[in-house]
Symmetry: C2
Amino acid sequence: MERQKTDVRQEQIKSAVLDIIYTDGLKNLSTRKLAERIGMSEGTIFRHFKTKQDIVLSIIKDVQTDFIGNLRKIANSSSSPSERLERLLCATVTYLTENRGITMLLFSEATQKNDRELKENLQNIFNNQKSLASKIVLDGIALGIWDESTDVEQVAMLYMGIPVALNIELVFAGGVFHRENFCSRMMILLLKILER
Amino acid sequence: MERQKTDVRQEQIKSAVLDIIYTDGLKNLSTRKLAERIGMSEGTIFRHFKTKQDIVLSIIKDVQTDFIGNLRKIANSSSSPSERLERLLCATVTYLTENRGITMLLFSEATQKNDRELKENLQNIFNNQKSLASKIVLDGIALGIWDESTDVEQVAMLYMGIPVALNIELVFAGGVFHRENFCSRMMILLLKILER
DNA sequence: ATATTATGTAAGTAATCGCTTACAAAAGTA
DNA sequence: TACTTTTGTAAGCGATTACTTACATAATAT
């Protein structure tokens, strides 16, 4: 195999990890299978990452940068709260449906007993989504657009359940998803909760 | 170890499985650890269950009998749709918070590539919850209590997200949960969606 | 040009895993 | 009472796992 710089290989490895998680599930991810998928020797993997766990951690940090970073921009934009909430939800749905390996990884790992660093990073991803949704709801209330008696904590929790439920549906449906209406349909429900 | 009948041992084994899943996570469940937890030899486990997977499958079938069975009774009772929906939700929340091992098992396995039988049984549990919730919403609409333009499919999906989101919160919060208000607070949101 | 670093590899290591085997003896049946 | 079935066990099996080791050589630095 031709030599490549470590950053190239790391991307390759991470990409193959997500591919395997998607096709075979996290529990069937082994360094042997990973090496075969890429077409490299097993030892090479450990040239570029110290441990298997480090690969997973690296992916999760990518998610924080890419996904959460994008959500943060949306939540902090100057659009109306309704628009922001819809764009937040749609960005979430889009990201998770287009990155099925990541979705599977996040939700698989969320219910495992992991080491502290991994757990904290995972928690960060979930908590950030929740607090960005809360912020938007609070903004809408502060602007007098939404009902000030709204239970923001529960709305945020209900919001958090959407991608998770969607993921489970996708798993059982074998990845079939018609998303063209999903966001707007769900937003109708959320707005009904929020309206004065 | 004193001899016991196979049904006694099976209960013991299943109970210990759930305990380990709760304390250590599904991925750290081994027959060795299981045997130690109970205080029996590893071989004994295979006197009572053919494979490790069979233990998990047996637990999942128990969930269908106990949990889904109970939910079905609630959904089919003669109470008002509102009351039924609240009792359905509360029974779900109660069951899942009081059976943390089962909750962890269900959501861990939901994102894995399992054999067909296990997958079908899991799917059954999730689908039954969803269709029971849908049935109640449809009843409410048919009785003219709730808005007939309600998107029942999306409401059911939103409903399905609640226990899942709750589970993730519990995992990260280390099992701390104050449930005395949870159902009623969430029902306020759901009823707001449903009202005419 | 030489020395050092980075990258790839095949083989090997120690540990763990689910499960079986051979033995033992309690419990059940006729 | 004799035979069969059920239940428990220690040791072992074959497979898999994450990772290391020793070697090789391309790429980079001086």
